[in-house]
């Protein structure tokens, strides 16, 4: 290309090789053996061909939840998030020219603070699991203690991430049991586990079983520790927020708020806390300030907590986070508004309850937990988990989460069981398809 030639002339070099003379011959390679490049159209065909091997939730009803959820996403959310100026931006290092992203993230933080009832939220963590890891570390930073007590009925992946996050601190993870009948926190046992080594107690509402647990309202009373609560943010359109029952840190999965499932990534870690702890909080924070003319302006703030300034002493190593997912969520919440969020929570509870009743009316399918559920529930099933799963697939419907098969048998007391998720997107005919197929093996 002419331009390359001109630049080379300017540099006084004859060949591009000369730009690499500082690389020792011994380490040079012959090239990358990964095939030739293709034109866009050929790739378009190829991608369609490969991806057509996937079955999306538009091609098959799917009743999976367990951490990642299907919800209706307004077309406008995609439209906003695909604005070039948002998605091709870097972190807003120059705030004067990045007000759009900064204000949007400020709105996201405000939304999360309102939903969770906490004072402040950061501009995102990677996902729910790493948010838990960060929360545990933050608890340690707050009170210097070394034990975190978590529910036994936690998703194993989350526990595994937590383990890795606290490993470096040498923190100990202790599990508290749940009540077998209700699926709720066994408060007595939890109480007994708490002592002066307790850095934090972690509770979820709704929990991994989809159970809405009023015990979370009373955990705070059990002692002096950092109380971490994990929530489904959509449930907060209706349910009391952690900030109102003494949580120090609220975390959750923000994918639920307007982000597609994307095979589990990107997700969006929600992280909110009390103002008194803000300087211990990991992650980016956007603040409101003024410009030279006194006009309102937004800027990244409290950066002295962060790696690029504090380096080894930073609250976390997080740098790139999930800003665009937060944009999706801000837009999503804005479209729904208070009335929409409330209604959405109600629809989810209603639909799930309806389906739960339908399933329980089939012989052999038994309600595992005698409680209020949000949009998920565990059903004890009459045959082997994997067998039922395959049967459903053969009927063109994807069942729920296999409670023991996929969790290294974490829940032996349940026997064969499935965790079903139902949201506003499941149509009557999806539900019929599921129930009919279940009935075949009752």
């Amino acid at each position: 290309m002419d331009d390359e030639k001109e630049m080379m002339d300017f540099l006084g070099i004859k060949s591009i090789e000369e730009l690499f003379i500082d690389i020792p011959e011994e380490v040079k390679i012959k090239g990358l053996d990964i095939g030739d490049g293709v034109d866009e159209h050929t790739l378009r065909l190829l991608a369609r061909k490969i991806l057509s091997k996937n079955k999306s939730s538009f091609e098959m009803p799917i009743f999976l939840g367990a951490g990642v959820y299907q919800h209706y996403i307004p077309a406008g959310v995609f439209s906003i998030a695909s604005r070039s100026e948002f998605y091709t931006a870097y972190t807003p290092y120059q705030p004067e020219i990045s007000q759009g992203m900064l204000q949007t993230l400020f709105e996201y933080q405000s939304y999360i603070a309102e939903l969770t009832g906490m004072d402040v939220a950061n501009a995102s963590m990677y996902d729910f699991a790493t948010a838990l890891g960060e929360a545990a570390r933050m608890a340690n930073a707050i009170n210097g203690k070394n034990e975190i007590i978590i529910p036994k009925n936690i998703q194993w992946e989350k526990k595994s991430v937590l383990k890795n996050y606290v490993k470096g601190l040498g923190m100990k993870i202790i599990e508290y049991p749940y009540d077998k009948k209700s699926g709720k926190i066994d408060m007595e046992s939890l109480k007994n586990l708490i002592n002066d080594k307790t850095a934090a107690v972690y509770a979820e509402n709704p929990n991994f079983f989809g159970v809405i647990d009023e015990n979370v309202l009373h955990v705070r009373e059990l002692g002096n520790f950092v109380y971490i609560v994990g929530v489904n943010p959509i449930s907060l359109g209706l349910l009391k927020p952690p900030g109102e029952y003494g949580a120090d840190i609220a975390i959750g999965e923000g994918q639920i708020l307007g982000n597609p499932m994307n095979f589990g990534g990107p997700l969006l870690g929600i992280f909110a806390t009390r103002m008194e702890h803000v300087r211990k909080m990991p992650g980016r924070i956007i603040g409101m300030s003024k410009d030279k003319d006194g006009r309102r302006a937004f800027v990244m703030t409290l950066q002295t907590r962060e790696q690029h300034i504090r380096r080894a002493k930073a609250t976390s190593n997080i740098c790139s986070n999930e800003a665009l997912c937060a944009v999706f969520s801000a837009a999503y919440i804005s479209f729904l508004g208070r009335s929409g969020l409330k209604r959405l929570a109600e629809i989810n509870m209603s639909r799930a309850e309806e389906v739960r009743k339908l399933i329980c009316s089939i012989k052999g399918y038994v309600n595992a937990h005698n409680s209020l559920h949000f949009n998920e529930f565990v059903i004890k099933i009459p045959i082997d988990e994997l067998e039922l799963h395959k049967h459903l697939l053969s009927r063109g419907v994807h069942g729920g989460y296999l409670m023991n098969t996929w969790s290294n048998n974490s829940f032996p007391e349940l026997g064969n069981a499935m965790l079903f998720n139902v949201t506003e997107v499941h149509t009557d005919s999806d539900i019929k398809k599921l129930v009919d197929a279940l009935r075949e093996v009752s």
Partner: protein
């Protein structure tokens, strides 16, 4: 003549309207009988018309700068063209609307793409195995260091508590060390900005778990002592970690593997052209040599000749570092980019990136100080200290650049360069736009002399004027409920 769009945009909470978006099955509500103590009573979020919301964010977007608008020469960030086809692909139902727990027979396409990407990254990194799970560069570092720890623990080599990093390292390197439970030992760079071999020797000991560097380093200089460094580190029983954020300077020319590294993380959102999204999501896969493979996070994608599957049976796995399999939609984009480029294409990416950097380097030389040697790879770091005599700082240069509709370089990093201006043009800038960038920076150096006040008051042509960052930190207003 540039002026950024300015809309006097309210906060969404200050708007007023009614919800017009309908929710599916909105009218099918049972009586839920939720105990009152569990119900919330207020929620300070307002309703608005769909259209009002849409416009709000479209207007906000116009007050944001993205690489689709113009040059974005942020050093270390590799702000290159984000191919539009990748966006088209990830908007397909078969990417967006699949659940991570779906039966593997129903996600063969997804698994194939992940598998192929693993294979490509192995070749590009010169590694033996790859995990796609880490969701950002820093997460890759953390994962890499967990692998370091697992490796030493497995070998019962338990006294290794230190990670060595050069003082030119990115902040995530020491921060990740801390997260993984290590003490960071920072060693000074030598007079060439490279690893000071004596300092390294001195720092290395049987307490050393790993040495983390990037090569080319954050100055954009390739350290030709790399094989010697590897020898020294390995001799001491430590591992050599490669911060892959700078891979754009060497693809197809050399590999971290070939240079003797044991571990590398890739920044797909830098080298492999996935969008930065205003600060993420990214993806930070990690490659390792054979001896570390048994510690990788689960699952890894494998192919049995007929189908692709998630393999959870990794002998001494560290477990998980993120909720699922990594940032899948980002992985798909990187896969698409690599497919489009192919082996030769990636090599040409590096060649052009390096050509562009050196072109800028030579054009700006004389106008800004250029510490250290001339030849650079993917980026070049200037110093604005020559402007100090006019009372102008690098920050002022950066702000003034915005007035010309060009984003500023990374400033004040790496820390070893005073008043640093770190420029990474990437291969996707045309000569035209490089010239424009150079012209603007040269003009500003001139302005610094002639009208320093202008620089100190810049920017003028952006949505807002210079922002008081000190006040923001002193009296933090972090949500709308904190507004007085």
């Amino acid at each position: 003549m540039f002026h950024q769009a300015v809309w006097d945009e309210k906060l969404i909470i200050e708007m007023k309207g009614s919800r017009t978006i309908k929710i599916p099955n909105e009218d099918k509500i049972l009586n839920l009988n939720i105990p009152a103590e569990l119900l919330r009573d207020k929620l300070n979020i307002n309703d608005n018309e769909e259209y009002a919301v849409l416009r709000h964010y479209v207007r906000l977007s116009q007050m944001n700068y993205g690489v689709d608008l113009n040059t974005y020469p942020l050093g270390s960030c590799t702000m290159k063209f984000n191919p539009k086809l990748s966006e088209e692909i990830v908007s397909m139902d078969q990417v967006r609307n699949i659940h991570p727990y779906q039966d593997q027979s129903t996600v063969q396409g997804a698994l194939q793409i992940m598998y192929e990407l693993q294979e490509y990254l192995k070749v590009i990194g010169g590694m033996d195995a790859v995990t796609l799970q880490p969701v950002a560069g820093a997460d890759g570092e953390f994962t890499g260091l967990l692998l370091v720890r697992a490796y030493h623990e497995y070998r019962k080599d338990n006294k290794r508590t230190e990670i060595i990093v050069p003082d030119s390292a990115h902040g995530t390197n020491p921060a990740s060390s801390t997260m993984a439970g290590y003490t960071t030992i920072e060693i000074p760079s030598d007079k060439n900005g490279l690893v000071d071999l004596d300092a390294l020797k001195e720092a290395l000991s049987d307490r050393t778990a790993a040495f983390m560097i990037t090569n080319p380093n954050t100055l954009g200089i390739f350290d030709d002592n790399i094989l010697e460094i590897a020898r020294l580190v390995h001799e001491k029983g430590a591992l050599l970690y490669y911060d892959g954020a700078n891979l754009n300077g060497i693809m197809g020319i050399t590999t971290p593997g070939k240079m003797g590294f044991d571990i590398v993380h890739f920044n797909l959102h830098k080298t492999f052209a996935t969008p930065h999204g205003g600060g993420g999501p990214g993806a930070g896969p990690v490659g390792v040599k054979k001896h570390l493979e048994q510690f990788l996070p689960v699952p890894v994608v494998r192919y049995d000749g007929k189908s692709y599957y998630l393999d959870y049976e990794i002998k001494n796995t560290i477990g998980k570092v993120a909720g699922f399999y990594g940032n899948f939609a980002v992985l798909v984009r990187a896969w698409a980019y690599i497919k489009m480029q192919g082996g030769n294409g990636l090599r040409h990416v590096t060649e052009r990136a390096v050509l562009n950097t050196n072109y800028i380097r030579k054009r700006l030389k004389g106008h800004y100080d250029l510490p250290y040697k001339e030849l650079r790879k993917h980026e070049v770091v200037f110093s604005g200290s020559n402007l100090k005599k006019y009372g102008v700082r690098t920050l002022d240069v950066a702000k003034r650049m915005l007035d010309y509709g060009v984003h500023a370089p990374t400033i004040y990093f790496p820390l070893i360069v005073e008043e640093a201006l770190m420029i990474e043009p990437t291969e996707t800038e045309s000569k035209d736009s490089l010239d424009r960038l150079a012209d603007v920076m040269i003009r500003i150096a001139q302005e610094a002399k002639e009208d320093p006040e202008k620089l100190k008051n810049a920017p003028f042509n952006t949505a807002v004027k210079r922002i008081d960052e000190v006040e923001a930190a002193r009296n933090p207003v972090l949500t709308w409920k904190m507004i007085k």
